[in-house]
Symmetry: D2
Subunit: 307 residues, 4 copies
């Protein structure tokens, strides 16, 4: 069951959190409810097995459970993109085969990591994944994890070749993103991964957003994007500014834990407080938020009108 | 078939290259010959599925072929350690189960990578792997890939707990390594991952070496370590200096490719020139060395008395 | 002669290039003409001795020539901010005394660099400079040079204390910048250092821009900011997009030279081609652009309507 | 009064701490006593205005006081090298003129920092300093401060040209240092900046050591180097191991302050406890050690037989 992807993917495409049981298994029931929550919020597509989905912590068996649960449950209402996050093309391709067989509409891959690589090798890597995947391929630019920045030149070259259908830009480098937007010629979706500069990215010509915080408040991001689409930039900005304040939840965990734990823990705590998922558990070895921290997240939710 | 590991693993433990066919599959025949070459060279143990084994490029199925081929072929003559390289403990544990079932004598794991982590989480990560593994666990300190340095404090604490049986230190920080050597109380193997300062590391009290270049010249590293063991440090240094010059082969590929391609390509080209493996192919998307570069590697081998 | 700085500095504040003779001395005549060009372009203030001024290459004597030339020539038409770029507070304060005596309206300082520092020490550093300076102090957030990012928390705390009057944010992290904009309570100028996302920064609430490219095309940046001020965001974006394309000149030097050489060399080549300065020379040891590269910069200028 | 430098500088060359008054001025009396302490300890030369001298915190006037005090007080008993630490060649040359006029026997300079540079520009930088200096020039390889690593190729090329007389290698990369040692052809001093691997560096062929900890215990480092020189490597190692344990003092300040504060604060606290300098004060904005921390440093000194 493959859902067609429009030539330029656009709108709100949240990276779907992966609810877990306290034992660390995928909580399929909660995941289905989260999907319903997102679809009801009006999102344009779903992105499973991204960084915000704790893909780095999920075994291959768990990744497959996520794919089957989400693609099965969503039933073609919106396209489902799948992250195929691994160190190099051969391992990425193994994930790609599973994702495509499960019905993913598109694949999202980073540059090689762990290895010491080179731009020429990054090109080869994406070409191989695109050739083997069979569905549109999106580059995931995430230097904080991959320790390589995808240059505008590289993206534009692979766009012109038809290798890449778009980019999820989580680099924070909006200047570089704008170069891609202004210089692209082939259809090529530019999606910002930033939760807090979406109105600006859309203003520059980005096609959409992949916001981790969109798990918690999909209606907010949908309202933001739709306001911008109809030209009501003031409304878009007001919504964005509310979401900027809500995004403070990712700092509650502070310096006693890693940035992944603090961010993903906050999203899950918020989803649990909102009654959407059964457990706020994050995957091992992340440090869990404590009761005080969860309480502070609750106050942020209340301030944002979400509790 | 589990081979017992001595309390403190020591000596020469090469990270075994993974010969590939031009199509990118594991060349089991060449791998068996490489194992024979290393065992005949007098090495004390083998380390499969490390960075020099191109583990980042091998699919899980290929990793299993490597484990079965090497452990089967070596037949208990020397212990075989297995790299279980992946992003976080849950994924590492999946590899660990396969490796232990295949008969690995010990496991080698890095800190979490790709995620934004924290020392407390690194401790949890290693504890979980040790608890789930069932064989001795060695930490792999490789900041160039993992982007985290394992501190002496962390290593000594996990050694005292019995979580870690040792460390492969590829950080290049010999001062930090010496802190661990001087302050360790529990049995804890300190193995340098440097090809070019082995005599110095042994002089400081390191127990052994895990040299990628040991694939090409195991006799050299065995001679180095045995010379040091019997107190003939002058002979150890002479052998080390010869190997320092031979190590220049890793720079032949230069800046037109990634560091992984240049280093692993050089080892494989040398093994091919020496007639030990059938193909010098490296895994995709690495850039292959060209004929001129391979010719220069041949000259280095000749100068080192290996052709 | 001190020119009063408005409580919240705003608008276009170009970091003034420092024209040099081929022998590496400050070309005061060209510098005066550049000042005229900028003031005629409508800029709101000038920032001398910033990174784009090659401050890292100027001796203390040359820095003083720049201060005296610019402050003397501008004659109070607009405020002149002075960079006081050095490793730590004691050295920064020595520059501050010279700059204030010369009539600078405000000072711009980075966090400590070269030393291994800590947020508590960065706070002490800025407090000491503010206490000793006597004119408003602006933080210069430039991680590519300083290798430290100034957090929103740190900036807001020092704003609330009255230590900092504003920030020049050249970090590229517009999400962090927005946090400062939304959470500031004291008067605190937020100025983007990005040449290519100015409309977006203003949209988010930034007060102004410090664009290196503003040397080449001050009228463009003034038009951009004034269009935004009067609510004509479409015009602001059109102007910004033209300037994004012009900004390509900083990549002409490419990978054969450092990023500073390529960027500053391009600005100076453009100023020379436009007839504003007598020599395109950059300071030693920067690599100069060659004739072919300068020719390509000329084509960019022509395409932008500047030749 | 220029003291001749031997073609290959060798032995123990401590980077001389700069004692300060509580008000932050150079304490010339304490500095003279420190010089006496070092010369009495048998050191082979002195290195003033290095990182361990807090050069990054000293004004130009204070730098001159240090030069005059030390060169005047040492009276030619040993050569005095001077750090000329600044961002680029033009500023470095200004310091060089002062240092040479004051009688420095050699200059020590880093690669450019703060700017975004390139190997070709680093070569130009060192060539310009050497041409303008008039005394032997030593490269200071300190990536933790400069954020560039000097490659073996670059060092060997500048050695062959006669531009560089040697290197102080504080990179921690002993493998790279060994490449330089084995491949150098011109007279070229290789000095390790590591306090804790000196026996190993000498074993590899290094000519000497520039140990910050040598301020505290010059006799120890002199004993270490002399033991190695006469071939008594066991004695050298015993001395080094004692000094490795003493070096723990640099970690006492821990994560509540920057690494510079913790290290330099520890050296000064130890010198104060030993009665050599009048005040343990470090320069602003470094965080001072508290009484508890100073007490722990005292225990380390006692354990090392220095109190």
């Amino acid at each position: 069951m493959t859902t067609a992807v429009t030539p330029t993917l656009s709108g709100v495409i949240p990276p779907v959190c992966t609810p877990l049981t306290p034992e660390g298994e995928v909580d399929a029931g909660s995941l289905a409810r989260l999907v319903d929550h997102l679809v009801a919020g009006g999102v344009d597509a779903l992105f499973v097995l991204g960084s915000s989905s704790e893909v780095a912590y999920l075994t291959d068996a768990q990744r497959k459970v996520v794919l089957d649960t989400v693609i099965g449950h969503v039933g073609g209402q919106v396209p489902v993109l799948a992250g195929v996050i691994d160190m190099t093309a051969p391992r990425v391709l193994a994930h790609a085969r599973v994702a495509v067989a499960a019905g993913a509409s598109g694949l999202v891959a980073t540059a090689p990591f762990y290895t010491r690589t080179h731009p020429a090798e990054i090109r080869t890597h994406f070409r191989a994944i695109a050739a083997g995947g069979g569905v549109p391929l999106y580059a995931y630019d995430l230097p904080v994890s991959v320790h390589t920045k995808l240059s505008a030149e590289l993206l534009l070259e692979l766009a012109a070749e038809g290798v890449l259908a778009g980019v999820k830009d989580s680099s924070g480098d909006d200047g570089g993103m704008r170069q891609v937007i202004l210089r692209r010629e082939a259809p090529f979706s530019v999606l910002t991964g930033s939760e807090v500069t979406v109105d600006a990215a859309l203003w520059m010509g980005a096609d959409g957003v992949v916001p981790g915080l969109g798990n918690v408040d999909p209606h907010g991001y949908v309202n933001l994007v739709r306001s911008a689409s109809r030209g009501d930039w003031e409304a878009a900005r007001r919504e964005q500014e509310r979401l900027v304040r809500l995004f403070e939840i990712v700092h509650v965990g502070g310096s006693r834990m890693g940035g992944s734990s603090a961010g993903l823990g906050a999203f899950k705590a918020a989803l649990h407080l909102r009654g959407i998922i059964d457990h706020p558990a994050t995957a091992m070895p992340q440090t869990p938020l404590n009761d005080d921290e969860i309480g502070r997240i609750g106050k942020h939710l209340a301030a944002a009108g979400l509790l």
